[in-house]
């Protein structure tokens, strides 16, 4: 269960409350979005690495590739 911790800055009193159903739904949606972001970033990195490898195979130096 996701929780919110609430700390009073003046007294130091600390209390907890459980997330509401709506807040839990937001977290679950964010988890899906985060997974999609990760997958997308990994796919992009894979494509980039592949492209760099192909450019290198064509005979371009690292400096030449970086200059593109």
């Amino acid at each position: 269960m996701y929780k919110e911790k609430i700390v009073n800055a003046i007294t130091g009193e600390e209390t907890y409350r459980n997330y509401t159903a709506a807040e839990v739904a937001e977290v679950e949606a964010a988890i899906v979005e985060a997974a999609e972001r990760t997958t997308e970033a990994q796919a992009k990195a894979t494509v980039r690495a592949s492209a760099l490898a192909k450019l290198a195979a064509l005979g371009l130096s690292a400096d030449e590739i970086a200059a593109l």
């Binding site: 996701y2 919110e4 800055a9 985060a34 972001r37 970033a41």
Partner: protein, 296 residues
Amino acid sequence: MAKQTFTTGQVLTAAQVTSLQQTAMLGGSASAKVASYTLVAADAGTTVSMSNASATTITVNTGLFAAGDTVTILNTGVGTCTITAGTATVSKPTNATLALVTSAGGVLYFTATGAATFLPFDVGSAAATSNANYTLINAGGTALTGAATVTVSGLSGNQKLLIYVKQASSASASSNFGLRLNADSGTMYDGIGLYTTSASSIGVEANGAAPSSYMFTLGTQGTNVANSIYAYALIDGANATGLKSIISHSNANGTAYSAYAHQGTYAGTSVISSISIFSETGNLDAGTVYVYGSGA
């Protein structure tokens, strides 16, 4: 022992001498109150302590005390106890407050029967309502652990708030971190920002047309849960009813790129009484948030 006029030949009891000794050593008997109270002449030379979970007042009237009299005030309750000028005037140092938080106190020193100066024991603990300097409000910081959202409350009375997030992290990889004001999850946050989460890309966020439900993204750990976030946010207008101006920057350390720079507004009209740091996809598991306040 309450102030009294001694007479020639009067014999003091041991209890009276002990009480006088206590008073001479800046102690003295305490008159415990649990509800708002108006000082009486017999309070001269004593301590009046207040204990109440809600706000209370201690009222100071004229015609009861003489020049040179003192009354020590101590608030032991959770509710703020405010020293209130009734028919007397009550002055204080510029950067002090008459609103005493828990464990705050001081001495009312009467310069005339109708005029007293409040001398707080600790000016530094006073609310920053008229102090241009920033003062750490949550002493020692608040741990960003044990919950997905950590809220720091009790921040009212500060025109500016400076929030410093030190090494926040979540067990959830690539979790975004956000900031909310007054626990407001409505679409009240507008602004623009630049961010990068890799060495080769820069992104732009503009949510003026479609406000966000939180104060932008403070940062993300990237894909490395060993990373942590350093961030700060400066809020102006926190003690007013208009739009609040917000500037925030954040960076992730470790191996993953993450840098965010945002500026914008929060449209809530209430004064800011709390701030919340949250991890979007899992519990916060490390870090500290420090909240500084300024009255100017």
